[in-house]
Symmetry: C2
Subunit: 420 residues, 2 copies
């Protein structure tokens, strides 16, 4: 708890994602007061949101109360508030409807949103799975489309889902949808011809899982196709409509694919609101930082994770954010001790992506590549034991295990409809 | 799965609650086709909704996909649809936006809603915890009020919660709120003076837990008071406002209690929509049934659970609904075999109510009364092992156990806010 009369330096951390939590954790042993600010009361475990979007996990399984997190540390507190700006002269974080909060050091680790690359109709009609609410909307749309088709409701179209982007998010989403179609639909919707449930994965380049070894890329593509995913490589999206997506194939021909849902899984960008905070920004609206992750021209402000424009162009996944947040925390401790800051060096711990039940690809930086069941077990272990917190870990472990090992009989796809 | 060309008698079950599920289960061994209809895709485990309303369980922990349920039985199918009427001449269930569904036998076990007894403002301003969405709304309102008070947001009033009704639901809700206040708030909201979080339980009669033995009533009242619940017996609600509730105490004096949330936990009634189905209804809009639970004048229609007006005035909890649904299923099997129907005889298995962590009261029909920890363990066992289904049971067991045995450190109160 922060004592208002405390004389210790105050570090304000904006954003309760991987970067922010990592910074708070690092600073818990420093002689500072830490105030974590987020507009939501909870942290979302983004790497598993595709499971929420396909009905495999409950939203509560992948969210964790930020107050529960800060209450673990004697020097940390949480404030649920929306940041509207930063007064770098007075060193104040401005908040919506609340008094500004003073800081001695500021760590910004927030504010990414889906990047629609200006594609016609994408912002209006495409669904995203980067936030809890986005994943819930995606789940409800997809499962309602399947339900309507199964019931032959008047004019109910085929429940085709088009996933845009063949990176890890797109592959995991398409793989999870294929599993829903192949394992759950035949049991839960016995009257529905599963060939009507089409899953299309559209990728602009000629491979899926761009940053992986070609061998794993080929494996993932083969596995997805075997699971019935209509994989369209070398294909770009021209337009997203309410009920269809227009793509251009490798032959340059345009095609309209009717779709009950278009899931946008390609690229994130800094939230436009960060652009109004008066900090220097570059490509994609991301904040300009130096090699030590301090914001250009503001030696007491760090920007970490996806909101920072990093010169190395690191993948926008958990590890760079976690390591960046920790780095910022360490640098503040160094500055308080009178030492100079250090350059941020990302330690590549490898990449992984699940394709479906008991199937994944893993690539370690030292050359080891795994695929299939052993890769999936490594994925499960890392996600459940390294990344998630206490209670959620247990609940998610059970829900995932039930899903993976005894799926059809225990399937529990819940369509939450807020209207009663 | 129901084959459209099946020549077997078709039983349509309306409502996927305790009564409906119990009927489907009983009929799974009969030579009939069973179609379960509900406007939601899931069953809600109502006895634990107060845990959702106080942040102890996720909504997904107490909901179970109805398709997962019907897929267990070879002769059962599910249809998500809203029933608009019953054509008893043609034996058709009329549906919103879908073709009517023919039936040979019909079991109605649906359609209760909160009974506001016409009290001024109650319908508009009071919260209910009889549905999943109601419990979520209640949770979000209460936790937001606490958060706002903790942050001293301008004009944020004291987060007082008034629970109306001292039956099992009201006692469990007030007890769970007291736990939230006493165990979680001091850790998660360290800046908030917990005396500001008032919990008021208003009950019209002179006792809580009306149907229980006076000894258990007195125990529950004492325990609630010791946990800091402001228990107002002999007090009736005159009016519910947006930010207050007007009550009249035993001395006849009116008092206005400012309230951030008013939770209505007193009485349920048949949904008004059932009144339009053309079936005979009585007190509270509930359907008139004979001793065998068949609807008066309609020998092929059964009404079970809370929607039926039962002459014995059974408590509106799980057991009468479960036994009624099973009874209807058994009677249909008897009718198909050419036997006469039997009178429904309710077998009292006892009553229980939790007061808080490791504290409950249990009363068995043969005179045994338990209170405290042993009663709570009996409650836990019954709820988790008798009443809930597979995966939910596991997830709920873990979440409840974590909450009860290591609450403060692992507290995970999630405010789901749909707006992003």
């Amino acid at each position: 708890m922060i004592n208002p009369r405390s004389k210790r330096p105050r570090v304000v951390v904006v954003g309760g994602g991987f970067a922010g939590l990592s910074a708070v954790r690092e600073l818990s042993v420093a002689d500072v007061d830490v105030l974590l600010i987020d507009r939501h009361g909870y942290n979302t475990f983004q790497p598993l949101l595709y499971q929420v979007a396909t009905g495999g996990l409950n939203p509560g399984d992948v969210t964790y109360a930020l107050r529960a997190f800060t209450s673990r540390y004697r020097n940390a507190d949480f404030l649920r508030a929306t940041v509207t700006g930063v007064d770098t002269e007075q060193r104040l974080v401005q908040l919506e409807g609340l008094d500004p909060v003073p800081y001695d050091y500021l760590i910004i680790g927030c504010g990414v949103t889906a990047n629609f690359f200006g594609i016609d109709g994408a912002q209006e009609h495409a669904l995203t799975i980067y936030t809890r609410s986005g994943a819930i909307r995606t789940r409800d749309r997809i499962l309602t489309a399947i339900e309507d088709a199964a019931q032959d409701r008047e004019g109910a179209p085929d429940p085709t889902v088009v996933v845009v982007g063949g990176g890890a998010t797109g592959v995991e989403m398409a793989g999870s949808l294929a599993e829903l179609r192949n394992a759950a639909v035949p049991i839960a919707y016995r009257t529905l011809d599963i060939s009507r449930v089409r899953i299309v994965l559209v990728e602009m380049t000629d491979v899926v899982l761009g940053p992986f070894h070609p061998q794993l890329q080929a494996y993932a593509a083969k596995e997805l196709r075997e699971r019935g995913v209509d994989l369209r490589l070398g294909t770009s999206v021209q337009q997203v409509r309410e009920d269809a997506v227009v793509v251009k194939g490798p032959d340059g021909e345009e095609q309209t694919i009717p779709a009950a849902a278009v899931v946008w899984a390609t690229g994130i960008t800094a939230s436009p609101i960060v652009g109004d905070w008066g900090l220097p920004t570059g490509r994609g609206g991301r904040i300009d930082v130096g090699p030590d992750l301090r914001v250009t021209g503001h030696p007491e402000i760090f920007a970490v994770g996806d909101v920072a424009l990093d010169p190395e162009n690191l993948p926008q996944v958990a590890q760079p954010a976690i390591q960046g947040g920790k780095h910022a925390g360490v640098q503040i401790r160094r500055l308080l001790a009178g030492s100079p800051t250090e350059t941020f060096r990302y330690r590549d711990k490898g990449s992984m992506a699940t394709i479906g039940r008991s199937d994944a690809v893993v690539e370690f930086p030292f050359g080891l590549r795994l695929k299939g069941l052993v890769a999936w077990l490594a994925w499960l272990g890392l996600h459940l034991f390294e990344l998630m917190g206490g209670r959620n870990r247990l609940a998610a472990l059970i829900n995932l295990s039930v899903r993976y090992f005894s799926w059809p009989r225990s399937l529990n796809i819940v369509v939450g409809d807020p209207a009663d």
